[in-house]
Symmetry: C2
Subunit: 259 residues, 2 copies
DNA sequence: AAGTGGTCTAGACCACAAT
DNA sequence: TTGTGGTCTAGACCACTTT
């Protein structure tokens, strides 16, 4: 298994990785203590830790504090499908139900959802200004939410509206918009018909780690969704999900239209 | 900036992170040598390295070998848009041009593309079998590609076809399919009209690191695209991109149809 | 040749969680 | 109380890249 030109910590990591993938170490089972591994490999604890940190970064094993130690991470299948394709049928459904879009989707998957909303007015950061086609230092209404599933933090969801559109409307109030932002904006005369999703990933900054309780080695998925009328972009939603608790899903039919 | 309860390496990391975000250290600029930082913080090189590794994992700074040292990573805007929505107009365009879909899209963005194709027939892994709705151990034709942009590895792209569909066709031959897989399959009588994209992210396994030359701290984006006729799933494409060289983009109009 | 980061050692002390 | 991982030290040698 170990190549000749592999450094020691890589060889240790490869060996443990092999134990895990072959299920000699099963999900939930304890990783041997660092000092045991150091003895077995006739090396220092530092080298063992280097290997273990690599496996943690790959998401294969948990962090371990106190006497509990580390375990093979239970690679539960992703537990939430964030369906991204927004259809008029879905929107209509929500308007009847009168609940927030996020809560509706969670309920459909048998999960209990909640969220904190905080509304501010501020200058648009460069990435926001560019997507909303605002001048530098243009003002935006920001709805900042941390969303929870079954009491656990799940994602951060910030929505930005150009101030000239949102100021003085319910978008600038820190209350839920039961019919959904899209329907409400349509009632204000801004009918979003064109959407762009941009998705990227990176390892999280410490702020994200704290706020969303992200384990070491778990990257975040970031989505920028821009909603446009036929005239201009009117809404930008930036969502940050820890990658261990979500899978993003888009579905579409190509039978009748170009996309 | 530094909290009282922050451990030392976190304080060092926070300080450097602040230097970078405030552009006291600009993209491309050198990070001070580890021994300089150790002296400045009156700590050991090991602690400095711990901080620097954290920033590397966040994708903020490069790895550095030899006398060159480390630099602030040039966070050039992502250099490739993976246009995900396949329109009939685009397909038609490709059939005229007679080039592979990947090569066409890259050329449009001013990049030079190439790829290696390797075709095998094998048993479907569980994740493949589930999405293609095949029985366990069902057989699939696999087209495995590593795709390159301007000579650099860009992504891995594996396409799986149920063997009963693909065996004996050009899909099982290791040649390009200039008109694109979708058009060719349509000519075989499999008209894909429904698509599902699932996107997730994780930190890469060592295989990915080697094959795609992924720098430390860069996660991978993984897309499962399932193509279905009105009857059944007929194609699964699994693409793995290092997250530092791609942004996935979906665009759609909601004027005329449900998606 | 010189200076950088990459690997590694053999210790130390502490915080935490299970027993 | 005990064993675990988390942090940290003060060195060492090597590989690599630029000068």
């Amino acid at each position: 298994m170990a190549n000749g030109d592999q450094v020691l910590w890589e060889a240790v990591a490869a060996s443990l990785r092999d134990d895990i993938s072959s299920e000699r170490l099963r999900p939930g089972e304890d990783i041997p203590p660092e000092l045991d591994l150091a003895k077995r490999w006739a090396t220092s604890r530092t080298t063992i830790r280097r290997a273990i940190e690599a496996l943690t970064a790959e998401g294969l094993i948990t962090e371990g504090r106190g006497r509990r130690g580390r375990q093979v991470r239970d690679s539960k299948p992703f537990d939430f499908y964030a369906v991204q394709s927004e259809s008029r049928a879905r929107m209509a459904e929500r308007m009847v139900l009168g609940t927030d879009a996020w809560v509706t989707e969670a309920a459909k998957q048998g999960r209990q959802a909640s969220q904190n909303i905080e509304v501010t007015i501020s200058e648009a950061a460069p990435d926001v200004a560019r997507r909303l086609e605002l001048p530098a230092n243009g003002r935006v209404v920001v709805r900042r939410r941390v969303r929870f599933l079954d009491g656990e933090p799940h994602d951060r969801n910030n929505t930005y509206y150009p101030a000239d559109i949102a100021e003085g409307t319910r978008l600038a109030q820190p209350e839920d918009i039961p019919e959904g932002g899209i329907a409400y904006m349509a009632s204000l005369g801004y009918d979003q018909t064109r959407f762009t999703d941009e998705v990227s990933a990176r390892n999280p900054a410490p702020d994200n780690v704290r706020e969303l309780r992200i384990p070491r080695g778990v990257p975040v998925l970031i989505q920028y969704r821009t909603g446009c009328t036929t005239e201009r972009p009117v809404k930008l939603t930036v969502t940050t999900w820890p990658a261990d608790r979500v899978r993003l899903v888009w579905e579409w039919d190509d039978t009748d239209a170009d996309h």
